[in-house]
């Protein structure tokens, strides 16, 4: 693909007052436009620190971040934030507006966009996440999954290049997770959105094009879901891979490499 959308070089970060141990040490990777990258790893591996650095909430001690070719620093962060967004874990704490459409418009208001244009963008974004019917609803009437959708719509309304999900599915029930995941798949196909999802959920990771595995602030593995799940044995695995491993363990015939859920189904009924 073309030039990288996100380019991270030698990025290091240490939280003050937490000893010498750095949360992130000399991390280098790049993400191309339209790619869906999942970052996985245990608690404390530095995943969320990475997210904080990418959106400019934290300032790196050393190293650099380029977004769409432009260096992220204090002067450029406001301009760069217009084209990216992040969804955090807790659905309640990121709902600023008093109604759904109000919240989606928040980012646009900050850009001082005229009302007529805002209305179009808000309607468009809510349609993309499938919430057009709940425009006027107030947050207390929404489920966690719906609130996360609103948060995503708020970012989509900005017509962004990058969507970052920082464990955005953690507080949701399994059904909302699956629904949201299929919405994201649809979005990834329909737009040229670059998605970076930080997650514990292996099914979410399996939906990506590429996975980074982090451990103790370093990247320890980088590859397609297929490569990662067949090499990293002590990581959890998505459903299809768990099934494959069980079949193997029981001495049954099983595919000799990682398969997505669809491929697995096809293989099974052959």
């Amino acid at each position: 693909m073309s030039e990288p959308m996100i380019e991270v070089r030698n990025l290091s970060y240490t939280y003050r007052g937490r000893g010498e141990k750095s949360a992130l040490s000399s991390v280098t990777f790049s993400v191309s436009r339209g790619e869906w990258l999942a970052v996985i790893g245990r608690n404390g591996a530095g995943k969320s620190t990475l997210a904080g650095l990418l959106v400019g909430l934290l300032k790196p001690q050393s190293g650099s971040i380029r977004i769409n070719g432009q260096m992220l620093d204090e002067t450029s962060e406001w301009a760069l934030r217009r084209h990216m967004g992040i969804v955090f874990q807790n659905p309640d704490n990121q709902f600023i507006g008093t109604t759904v459409e109000d919240d989606v418009a928040f980012g646009l208001e900050n850009e001082n966009m005229p009302v007529a244009q805002m209305k179009v963008r808000v309607a468009e974004a809510l349609k993309l996440v499938g919430l057009s019917g709940l425009r006027q609803a107030d947050p207390s009437r929404l489920s966690g999954g719906q609130k996360q959708r609103v948060a995503i719509a708020g970012i989509l309304a900005l017509r962004p290049d990058i969507l970052i999900l920082d464990e955005a599915f953690v507080m949701l029930d399994p059904k909302s997770r699956r629904d949201l995941l299929s919405t994201l798949r649809r979005l990834a196909e329909a737009t040229h959105l670059t998605i970076l999802s930080i997650t514990h959920d292996m099914d979410e990771a399996a939906a990506s094009n590429r996975i980074l595995v982090m451990q103790d602030g370093k990247i320890v593995n980088d590859g397609t879901p297929g490569q990662i799940f067949s090499t990293e044995k002590d990581l959890g695995a998505p459903f299809s891979e768990r099934l494959r491993r069980i079949l193997l363990a029981k001495g049954r015939r099983a595919p000799d490499q990682y398969m997505t859920e669809e491929e697995m189904v096809d293989w099974l009924w052959k």
Binding site: N93, F95, I96, T98, D102, A105, P139, S140
Partner: protein
């Protein structure tokens, strides 16, 4: 807590619900002043009729309005009693030490009572039929001139609307913490006053801690979504002044004129 009507919003579709919040705010403030124009019995009747008309148009049940008066009833009765007992003049009915019950006293008491109650009813009409966020928008608009004196009107309005937005969350959270403490054997609302205050500490500490965390996270979200206090922002919610708003203002003006005329005639 459910009994408090003040500041509650009752969703509805009435004429008053659809009025511009600015019109309603101006009306509420104007009504407080106008209520003092009612200086004789016909004026008082007019004032009551106008109030009942507004209440009827709001489509909210009369009972709810009575609940709105309830928290203030002792204050009202106390004031009324003071008027009855201490104002003398006109015909005197009872005289007992420093207390006198006279026709003047009773008359003043009726006036005071009427003004009090109509003002409460009328302002309740406004708060019951307007979403808090619309009230905030209206108030922000009316406070715009204060910008000249460097009052951060928009920032204040953002703060108020966020605070309003999080009230249900905080109530939920308080309930959760109370339940958690109850499950651990805490008993609320019993024992001496001092004891009751002491058992609230394990509620407020976690509540404060989580509110601070929430605040920090919210600030991060606002930051990333491009909110800058000093920057110019547009507003998605727009207020529209319509014909009916002008009519409602005229109705209020007519009330004031009517009361003034009745004062002159008498």
């Amino acid at each position: 807590m459910n009994k408090l009507i003040l500041g509650r919003y009752f969703p509805g579709n009435s004429l008053i619900h659809h009025l511009d919040p600015r019109a309603k705010l101006v009306a509420a403030i104007a009504f407080i002043l106008i209520a003092f124009l009612a200086g004789n019995v016909p004026g008082l009747v007019l004032l009551w009729l106008f109030t009942f008309l507004a209440m009827a148009l709001s489509g909210v049940g009369f009972r709810i309005y009575l609940r709105g008066v309830r928290p203030l009833i002792w204050l009202i009765l106390f004031t009324v009693l003071l008027q009855i007992l201490f104002i003398s003049g006109g015909r005197t009915y009872v005289e007992w030490g420093p207390f006198t019950v006279s026709s003047f006293g009773i008359e003043t008491a009726v006036f005071i009572f009427s003004r009090f109650v109509t003002i409460i009813f009328f302002t309740t009409v406004v708060t019951l039929t307007t979403r808090p966020v619309d009230l905030t928008d209206g108030l922000t608009f009316l406070m715009r001139p204060l910008r000249l004196f460097h009052v951060p009107v928009d920032e204040l309005s953002m703060m108020v609307s966020i605070a309003l937005r999080f009230i249900p969350n905080l109530l939920d959270e308080t309930q959760k913490i109370m339940d958690a403490q109850r499950a651990r054997g805490a008993v609320f609302g019993e024992g001496s006053l001092f004891h009751q205050m002491k058992v609230l500490v394990p509620i407020f500490l976690p509540l404060f801690a989580s509110s601070l965390n929430r605040g920090e996270e919210l600030a991060n979200v606002m930051d990333v979504r491009g909110y800058r206090a000093e920057a110019r922002r547009s507003s998605f919610r727009q207020l529209h002044w319509r014909g009916r708003d002008t009519i409602s203002m005229l109705a209020l003006l007519a009330l004031a004129a009517g009361l003034a005329a009745l004062n002159l005639l008498a």
